[in-house]
Amino acid sequence: MSWLKAIFSKLLGLFVDDVGFAVAILGWVILAGLGLPRLGLPGHLPGLVLFVGLLGILMQSTVRRSRK
């Protein structure tokens, strides 16, 4: 059953490589989903805020990793 174990760990590894990075993405998506509608931002702004936050997470995580 080692192949089953390998597939399970591969399945988890599909989404999580660096735990902090995955948690930051999930946290931002949840925050954007719950918080942005309450702010009443006009038109395309909520989508833009979601997107810019994700870009920030990506850049911060890669630069932080390169310092190690």
Binding site: S2, W3, A6, I7, K10, L11, L14, F15, V16, D17, D18, F21, A22, I25, L26, V29, A32, G33, L36, P37, G43, H44, P46, G47, L50, F51, L54, L55, I57, L58, M59, S61, T62, V63, R65, S66, R67
Partner: protein, 250 residues
């Protein structure tokens, strides 16, 4: 019948093709090592068995996900695609900047051949080591392809067919390369492929999360291109920043 949105079909097919190409190349390396050291009967038998199981998963999951309300699927699958795409993109950035080592198919092939040569070969019938090794690698790499195809097919609202066509084209290409070369496909720039797939899947994931949350995107479907361009620009800047960071650490 599948209701195909052809405005999304092209990018979906491309993402399915590129992502599957990366995974099939990785699987091919191990299957070739199995074939060369243990014989082709077991190598191809294990691969065929895994392919049938993967096809059954696609046929079971794809239509089942289409029955769930689209906004729920878009939010759930979009989040998974975003996690998946941004993980690939992060890794591709770090590899491009030289922070982590590039994936080396030739080295992987040599290691696999050395490992497989340690076991005695069966004199008759099926070689269980060959079947199990080929089955495992095809399942492990194929499950990523299945996820991408099913996720893109479901979240795009009936895009299973274009995503599957992209994956099938990649499979045909890799089988063709394997038959022609009889050695690992190391001339394809794997990190550049991963970079492109990471950009595309991150853009799709962000777009579908926004759709699932009821957000408006400027230009609607065309905003996918803007999102992809944004991820590409940010990733390129991140590569430069990581390189600089690495230089200053020396």
């Amino acid at each position: 019948m599948l209701n195909i949105d052809w405005g999304h079909a092209g990018p979906t097919m491309l993402a399915g093709f590129l992502a599957s190409l990366v995974e099939f190349i990785e699987a091919l390396t191990v299957v070739l090592a199995v074939g060369a050291t243990r014989g082709w009967k077991g190598a191809l038998g294990g691969t065929a068995l895994a392919m049938l199981l993967l096809l059954a998963i696609v046929l079971a999951l794809g239509p089942a996900l289409v029955r769930i309300p689209l906004d729920v699927v878009q939010l759930g699958v979009g989040t998974l695609l975003l996690l998946f795409g941004m993980r690939w993109l992060r890794k591709a950035i770090l590899r491009s900047a030289g922070v982590i080592a590039l994936h080396d198919e030739a080295k992987l092939y040599r290691e696999e051949v050395a490992e497989l040569s340690r076991f005695a070969r069966a004199t008759q019938g099926w070689d269980t080591v060959a079947v199990a090794t080929s089955f495992k690698i095809t399942m492990v790499e194929g499950i990523e392809v299945v996820f991408i195809i099913v996720a893109m097919g479901a979240a795009g609202g009936g895009l299973l067919l274009p995503a599957a066509i992209g994956a099938t084209a990649a499979l045909v290409l890799v089988i063709g390369l394997g038959l022609a070369l009889h050695k690992p496909v190391s001339m394809i720039p794997e990190n550049a492929l991963k970079f492109a797939v990471g950009v595309l899947l991150s853009a799709f994931g962000t777009f579908w999360i926004g759709e699932g949350l009821g957000m408006e995107w400027p230009g609607e479907d065309w905003s996918l291109l803007i999102l992809a361009a944004g991820f590409l620009a940010a990733a390129s800047v991140a590569v430069s920043m990581c390189r600089q960071q690495k230089e200053t650490m020396r």
